[in-house]
Amino acid sequence: MRDVAIVSFASAPNRRTDLRNEVEILMPVVQEAVARSGIARPFDFTCSGSSDFLQGTPFAFVIALDAAGAWPPIAESHVEMDGAWALYEAWVKIQAGQAETALVYAFGKSSPGDLPEVLATQLDPYLVAPLWPDSVSLAALQARAWLEKTGNSERDLAAIAVRSRRDAKANPNATLSGDFEIAKLLAEPYVAAPLRAHDCSPSCDGAVAVVLAAGDRARGVCKRPAWIRGIDHRIEPHALGMRDLTVSSSTRIAGEKAGVGNGAVDLAELHAPFTHQEAILREALGLGAGVAVNPSGGALTANPMMAAGLARIGEAASRIWDGSARRAIAHATSGPCLQQNLVCVLEGE
């Protein structure tokens, strides 16, 4: 396996509503990531993740290319998924020897639509989508199943929200952050019982970009590259009633294949858009109490759709670069109730 590292990362401010167009949001982010990488354009490969359904603009993903600069024509690809899967494609491209450097970006504008309703369109179009179950209600089905099986309480979920929002105070790109009291949060009404607003990630408009480089190219531009030591992704059946929602088998297997257990883990950035999902993911990855989870505040404080998974990888890499972690786990999810999961193991040298 070739040595491939993440050498830079940048994020948009993740405002609840950002009225700029996708290129206006994305371009400063791409420029910042490119400038920090120290690698001059053009990149050998460019790959992006987004979904036009979010903002209701067909071919927004093509328009977004203006932010990357596609002239003269570049080698490019796109996934209708979180940008973490675009990063996976770029990693494969570099592994195959077809590229030494890659630019990966992702963006999502959720504010133009009703996000929980828009996400219903990703469901089984015959039996489920015609009922229009919103994403929060589906997550709440999972939350209840998990609470009842494990004996955890809504208070335990609120504690996850409080910790995330407190950690997000250090993240200038968090949609929300601050000090909150568990009792006050629990006094708020349900959005979809057993979930309250603090259990759900805030909807926002955002974008992120990262730059990948292979071997000596990475060492040449980065003092302490974040090496991808393992990366794997797995998917579960789409029918919710055929899955055990209280565990994440796909995360567990992806974690095993990526080699999570091959060494001590300093921190994990887990893409958990709902509080209970963080607990399910922790368990699936076998992360002990000593592992710092989501020091960035995680998706519970900034969840730019299609970009929040890639942001987890960027945030984890940032802590390798600054020396605060030697070995970090990054995770991304997609689909309802943690249907599809990607796990990436990053290490400093």
Binding site: N21, V23, P112
Partner: protein, 338 residues
């Protein structure tokens, strides 16, 4: 136009609707399921391993093997395996009052299906409770044939259930002569509030004053109109504003013979790319006041605006372009923009 709103920073937003009138063919497995629903029955499908999948699926998610056609009648009652409570139902959802979403494992099935439960109040819901379907009187072979599930009465099974069963049976007999369900209607409509962004909003505010504003790239000096705040060649932001003439040159055209909802001119008409004087990117419009067989590349045209008092922040403020009495621009001068 009244639906266009100028928000923070003068950025314009407008309503935008995506609508897809999907009609889906369902295949033999789901076709059987929907045909049975129409008759007031629910069927699952037994896999080779002996598990009953409900709703049925074409392939066993555990083995990937084709599931065949070993259909078995299940339910109609079942058990809630998990649920959530919707406080404020959305318009498209099955019920217009607070309700539960639930995964329901029907009697005789090994998997659960998603549907709504009309329990009236959150306090009536619990995991493990028994529910039964509330059938719609007029069924067409669709998941909506089940209006929702409802809590099973606490009393014995013949408390209304027998009658329900009998009625369903009668309907089944009447409908058995009908053809199997082969497709379903699943219309999709999503409503958005589209934002034009910074650069395009400035352009549209200019249009509302009868001005055409482009933006110049600080790197390659090309002028873009309508501007999107970026140069796609250089991948840099564009900020310098340039007022352009409303005269230009046709770089290419097409004769359109099918109607378009957004273009309000009589058929047939010519859609054109017009390179405005001073711009480096042609913009889309239509040409009128010109016989179609005289339209050509290099032809000089000018915008015809709506009356001043009708100007607004929309491209509809330019009704069309018309020919003007100026010599054609030679083709070689248009090479880069065709």
């Amino acid at each position: 136009m009244s639906e266009i709103v100028s928000e923070e920073g003068g950025i314009l937003t407008a309503p935008h609707v995506l609508e897809y009138p999907y009609r889906r063919s369902v295949g033999p497995v789901l076709g059987r399921f929907f045909t049975e629903l129409r008759a007031g029955r629910i069927v699952g499908l037994r896999t080779q391993q002996g598990r009953v999948l409900a709703p049925p699926q074409e392939y066993d998610p555990e083995t990937g093997a084709a599931t065949g056609s070993d259909f078995v009648e299940i339910g109609p009652g079942g058990v809630v395996t998990t649920w959530s409570w919707v406080v404020r139902p959305r318009a498209k959802q099955p019920l217009d009052r607070p309700f539960a979403w639930a995964l329901v494992k029907l009697d005789g099935a090994d998997t659960a299906m998603l549907h709504a439960v009309d329990a009236g109040d959150l306090s009536r819901m619990r995991t493990g409770m028994r529910v039964r379907p509330r059938w719609r009187a007029e069924r067409v072979g669709h998941i909506h044939d089940i209006e929702c599930f409802e809590p099973e009465p606490q009393a014995t099974a013949d408390n209304g259930l027998g009658g329900e069963r009998q009625r369903a049976g009668e309907l089944a007999m009447a409908e058995e002569a009908q053809k199997p369900v082969t497709n379903i209607k699943t219309p999709m409509r999503l409503e958005y509030r589209y934002s034009a962004g910074i650069a395009t909003s400035r352009f549209l505010h200019g249009i509302a004053q009868g001005k055409i504003l482009g933006q110049r790239c600080p790197s390659c000096s090309k002028v873009y109109v309508p501007p999107r705040g970026s140069c796609p060649r250089c991948a840099v932001a564009t900020e310098e504003e340039v007022e352009l003439s409303d005269k230009g040159t046709i770089t290419t055209y097409a004769i359109v013979r099918v109607p378009s909802e957004s273009i309000d001119v009589p058929l047939p008409f010519a859609s054109v790319h017009v390179l405005l004087d001073g711009a480096d990117l042609p913009m889309f419009s239509v040409v009128q006041e010109c016989p179609l067989d005289q339209i050509r590349m290099g032809m000089r045209v000018q915008a015809v605006w709506v009356p001043r008092e009708q100007l607004g922040p929309t491209l509809q403020s330019i009704r069309y372009f018309k020919p003007i009495d100026e010599p054609d621009v030679p083709a070689e001068k248009l090479q880069e923009t065709v």
